[in-house]
Subunit: 201 residues, 2 copies
């Protein structure tokens, strides 16, 4: 089985990058992470990439027009010959132009059961709403905010003595299982969109 | 343990009425259903009540001003000396006046993981969105649409070959477990609201 070339975009600590890289190294996901891009030069996730010998590109987004920034990111991805793009805590919305560049090959993970609690601070949103079940969602990316077709969801209980932080930690454990599992499904199985439903054969 | 007097409001087949009544009969919920109210005189749920010897009140809502209809429903509940109100497929929104009459003692069940997919045809909404997990929510009722504090949620997988109907059937099985369980929790345990979180001691 050929290994797909994947770029990971991040802005923060990169724990989902680590989960993906380890699953690839174990042979569970037939992919190779060939590039990690951060819009924040100081993101700890870049260190996680360096430790694993993964090429990095720090492409600052601050003070740069969105279109220009996205052009640089897309160029880096294409130079690395990555075919898939995995967002792992990437804190910028992608434009329709960027999304169209990688049709149905951009994936994101969100720490809630979408369509509940899109956007920032999803775990705290869920905690404050008082849901008794939350979780995480791996989805294909469109140009909306956490609005693309759902590939996989995993649930966690919300406990009465939870804080937003303990809930976030419980969800993060499931993210690290869900993201590699979803990428494996997308790369190894035949699938199609019916409306916005992701159907695996 | 004293048995709480409960009124059930419904508009349709009454499968959740049956689940609640059977759980009460088995002693799993320390409650007695002392009245079933339907806004639709032909609702099959009224037959389920009759079969069990539960008093019924058919109070047609069609063509009657909402305020007048709700006054009649509240009077019937009070005559039956019911302290709790369980909505079981009751297809009318309750006014703030009605809700204030039974503070934090009106409960509803909704066939989705709220706050996703409130309102009508929740199972079809979830199916069309393409979530991979759905379920049901038991919640305290406020005067919004499916917006009150969550008591309990149970999940079901959404399968690739599901139709809205097969998904609805899978969720209904969990409703019949969730509703008695949630009512039992509310009646037998100490609980409080923190913000909109329902916290059990």
């Amino acid at each position: 089985m050929t290994r797909e070339r994947v770029a990971v975009l991040l802005s923060g600590r990169g724990s989902n990058l680590v989960a993906l890289a380890e699953a690839c190294a174990r042979g569970e996901v037939p992919a190779e992470i060939v590039l990690v891009v951060s819009n924040r030069p100081g993101a700890p996730g870049l260190d996680r990439a360096r430790e694993r010998g993964i090429p990095i590109a720090a492409i600052p987004g601050k003070g740069v027009p969105k279109e220009e920034h996205e052009r640089l990111v897309a160029e880096a991805i294409e130079e690395a010959q990555a075919r898939w793009v995995c967002l792992a805590g990437y804190m910028r919305l992608l434009s329709p132009t960027f999304v169209a560049h990688f049709p149905q090959r951009i994936v994101n993970i969100h720490p809630a059961l979408l369509p509940s609690f899109p956007g920032l601070d999803a775990q705290r949103q869920a905690w404050a709403y008082g849901v008794k079940v939350s979780g995480c969602t791996v989805h294909l990316v469109d140009s909306g905010c956490d609005s693309g077709p759902v590939v996989l969801q995993r649930t966690v209980p919300v406990l009465d003595d939870d804080t937003p932080e303990t809930l976030a930690a419980r969800i993060l454990e499931q993210e690290h299982i869900a993201y590699p599992a979803a990428l494996r499904m997308l790369l190894t199985r035949t699938w199609r969109l019916e409306g916005r439903r992701v159907i695996f054969d």
